[in-house]
Symmetry: C2
Amino acid sequence: MAYELFYWPSIQGRGEFVRLALEAAGAPYRDVARLPAEEGGGVRALTALLAETGGGGPFFAPPLLRDGSVTLSHTAAILQYLGPRLGLVPHDEASRLRAHQLQLTVTDFVLEVHDTHHPIASSLYYHDQKPEAARRAELFIKNRIPKYLGHFERVLDSNAGHAVGTALSYVDLSLFQIVAGLGYAFPNALSRVAASIPRLVALHERVAAVPAVAAYLASSRRIPFNEHGVFRHYPELDPA
Amino acid sequence: MAYELFYWPSIQGRGEFVRLALEAAGAPYRDVARLPAEEGGGVRALTALLAETGGGGPFFAPPLLRDGSVTLSHTAAILQYLGPRLGLVPHDEASRLRAHQLQLTVTDFVLEVHDTHHPIASSLYYHDQKPEAARRAELFIKNRIPKYLGHFERVLDSNAGHAVGTALSYVDLSLFQIVAGLGYAFPNALSRVAASIPRLVALHERVAAVPAVAAYLASSRRIPFNEHGVFRHYPELDPA
């Protein structure tokens, strides 16, 4: 039976880390909220599932993954569940623990990226918190991008260029997405640190060239980056 | 062999969720950074472990747990690892998945609590971001406390007052800590929502009365809440 992903239909957002894993593995899946209502899709299918108390719920927020009778929320938990089933994490326990911890660090970074444009509240528009966003983004670029990317670079350096194991993992896919997202949202900031993170840059290129990933990125299933998702390009937040 | 917890020695912080699990289970453990340097303790032992690349590292941030040859970071990953070993999560897979997801929601909430006093950057002092903190805290109290606590209340309601299973779990301990922390940091805000979260309030009282927990809370091992941790009491952020 196909996996069912429930996520906002018009953004990459946190759901994209799950989409990339499913796509890279060639797994059959339904991106439910992007399907027409007459096929059981639409945002209503997502919000209805969020409110369910059976099968593990209630759930706090998307993305959600449904696999038969199992429903899961939280990107890192979903990837921990999918990893072994999709062949995207090594078999040994040490590698799986390492992969999950790395994914949780990705989660933390993604929230920091989000909060560059929403430092006060998710409930407000960006234009209602622009001065605070400018202040937060400046320090994010100065301190947090180097800290996180430097960490991931050391991780790759400690393991011959892979996040875990010796083959493509879901963590590699997530690191690809982080570099891709920063390249969209903060191209100037990324270009300034690129020389110091050669392994991460190489990983990004290598993952983009994986045939299943390349096919996905070229398809209409890959929603373009936009200013509703996590990675937003506001030029005023990324000065040259 | 005793578990070894590595966390900042002067705050509860994120490490407290791990301390509570170890204490509630009566597990032998060393709170390494709180031990004297001559016993292998101190903050230096923590920072040295963070930089290690063997055994799963490098690690991004504390808390870290070492169990023999296994070293883990991220509160939720540590609790996922400890839960079955300490008897603080049911045996069945569905309950374990549910527990981990709930813990990840706790993680998200704890970061939002932190960012009420640090909305711009962790690298700045609170007094360098007070106007932004006031704005963020107001919306946190208005929207986020009701949303998160309401979610946890529904979770407890859906499962006879327990986060998972039918006995004390590490998630119950974490929900206790959230209520305790909000009671310290945002007493006015908490008192306003208390009537709408009876199950969460009851859980807090029930966990505090668990003998091993009560003994811990009364001991010098429980670091008092203070204005260096996650839950900080700044009266100006919690108006009556």
